[in-house]
Symmetry: C2
Subunit: 322 residues, 2 copies
């Protein structure tokens, strides 16, 4: 298929074309990369904007069930929903990885939904660029909401939070002692904490957990881009589909406030600058990954290891040659 | 002074010339940098090797007293001793910083000792390169032992451990609960744990602490570059000058074993390669720090922020232009 045709089909919202486009941007082949950039450039001429929602939560908190229920609710409101996974280590097992479409069996059958499993571990440009470009493709395909899921390992939270208009932290009900378990850094990124599994025997614990986190959030510094009462903690049951509409309303309230006060656009603008700087750095370092550079580096490293050249001298020699 | 003359004086072991050479490598001025590299290149023609001992410990464990006593003992054995500080944040206060020569009053008066205070925070090439080059200058000046001290904040441990033949962790006696306080990563770097202040009322606690750490070390994975019984924990009193000779003997035992089995040279070789790769990366990223690059980057970041250019496009544009 020609790039022009692929672009057109993506814009038409064809899910198979979108899947193919994402495969293209994930490819490590350099000719594919050229095509991918041509595609992105072409799509950039007709910009579309989706609401980007980041979602973090450790395995076991019910992320898949939440995405299934929350996604179905959004579709019920007439919205088109895309789901992407950021998984820096796809070798890891665990049911929360989105490759497992069976865990979102209703959503995956919806024509207004698009679910993309985790990419292979060997994606050339790094998790960040792949995800950023995949989000952008989903926007071009006319999705209204893009859910970006992460399992909360290493740098993936930062990637997701720097890509999202709204960052959700999903938690399971837990005793008071476990409150400490959430990394402070992640708490600080969250616009909203959702305590899931507020159903059955866990409901009282969920209520307590939610109150605990609400208290913890109040102790944290108020952010200028938030209205009164945010970041907030909210209780849901993805299983019983309870609290989801209220959660969505609270998100809408936050987003509308931010749009009115210019914070929505400011955040996007700030993120774009951030990605630009990251992209510059990684593109620069990518020059070391060509086979010529690798070969030369290996030879020089050998000399340095034997003490024939100093690290500084050898580094200069390499950079002069490149 | 000409570089040739400075080099000669460093090789002659003149401490003032060494101090001046270190000031030169720490300078942010580009003409100084040229001189510094000429000096290092010249000195590289007559390589000398010192034993590089890294020493980490939080403020209050008695690092200065230890260096004073341990250094004086080494000098008593006829060795020449240089002391360097790695301090990534010299703005921080605290008595353990080596600028405070008065805390090593005997050592600082010894003609066979050289003590270099922490460099200014604004050293151009980063803490790592500055320290690496300073170590190399001390070696050229014929010192037998170079002690590299760090206060254990941020990345400084890694810098020191990647520069050392032997990495010591100095601890104070403490109750069992505080055992957790040492970061596992630092424990894993340590070749030897020294529990200081094993004197007076603290002696029983020191004995217990030492046993605790010996136990903890036994639980950790044995490293192939260590003989039986290492990494080990050992008790010293820097104040009463107790246990220092034994500590030195245990270091000698470890080092001799490593030399015999090729691990000493393998570690140096591995470190040199590591620094080469780090140097290549930072030299590459330094290209973004010229005023032209900064100006161009600012302009493009503005466009990216406004949504006129994509992060990827703008990054390519910048790199093509540089």
């Amino acid at each position: 298929m020609q790039i022009t045709e692929l672009a057109q089909r993506v814009v038409n919202g064809e899910r198979r074309a979108l899947a193919r486009a994402i495969t293209l941007i994930e490819s490590a082949r350099s000719d594919h990369r050229v095509d991918a950039e041509a595609l992105l450039t072409q799509l950039a001429t007709t910009p579309r904007e989706a609401l980007r929602i980041g979602l973090s939560g450790t395995p076991g908190v019910g992320k898949s069930t939440f995405i299934e229920s929350f996604g179905m609710m959004l579709i019920g409101l007439g919205l088109r929903v895309a789901v992407l996974a950021v998984d820096p280590s796809s070798s890891r097992s665990g049911g929360s990885i989105l490759g497992d479409k069976t865990r979102m069996e209703h959503l995956s059958r919806e024509k207004n939904a698009f679910i993309r499993p985790s990419p292979s571990q060997n994606y050339l440009g790094g998790v960040a660029r792949r995800t950023r470009e995949a989000v952008s493709l989903c926007e071009s395909a006319g999705f209204d909401v893009v859910l970006i899921e992460t399992v909360g390992v290493g740098q993936s939270e930062t990637v997701v939070s720097e890509l999202s208009d709204l960052f959700l932290l999903l938690l399971a009900p837990a005793g008071g002692d476990e409150l400490q378990g959430v990394k402070r850094g992640i708490m600080e990124m969250a616009d909203m904490i959702l305590v899931n599994k507020a159903d059955g025997a866990l409901k009282p614990t969920a209520t307590r957990t939610c109150a605990d986190y609400a208290g913890a959030l109040r102790l944290m510094r108020k952010r200028h881009q938030d209205p009164e009462g945010y970041p907030c903690a909210h209780m849901v049951s993805a299983l019983e589909e309870n609290g989801l509409s209220e959660a969505w309303e609270r998100m809408q309230h936050l987003l509308n406030w931010r749009r009115e006060h210019g914070h929505f656009q400011a955040r996007r603008s700030h993120q774009a600058r951030y990605w630009f700087e990251q992209e510059v750095k990684s593109a620069l370092l990518a020059r070391l990954e060509t086979s010529t550079a690798q070969r030369m580096m290996e030879g020089l490293a050998e000399q340095v290891g034997q003490g024939v050249a100093s690290p500084t001298q050898a580094a200069r020699q390499l950079l002069d040659a490149l």
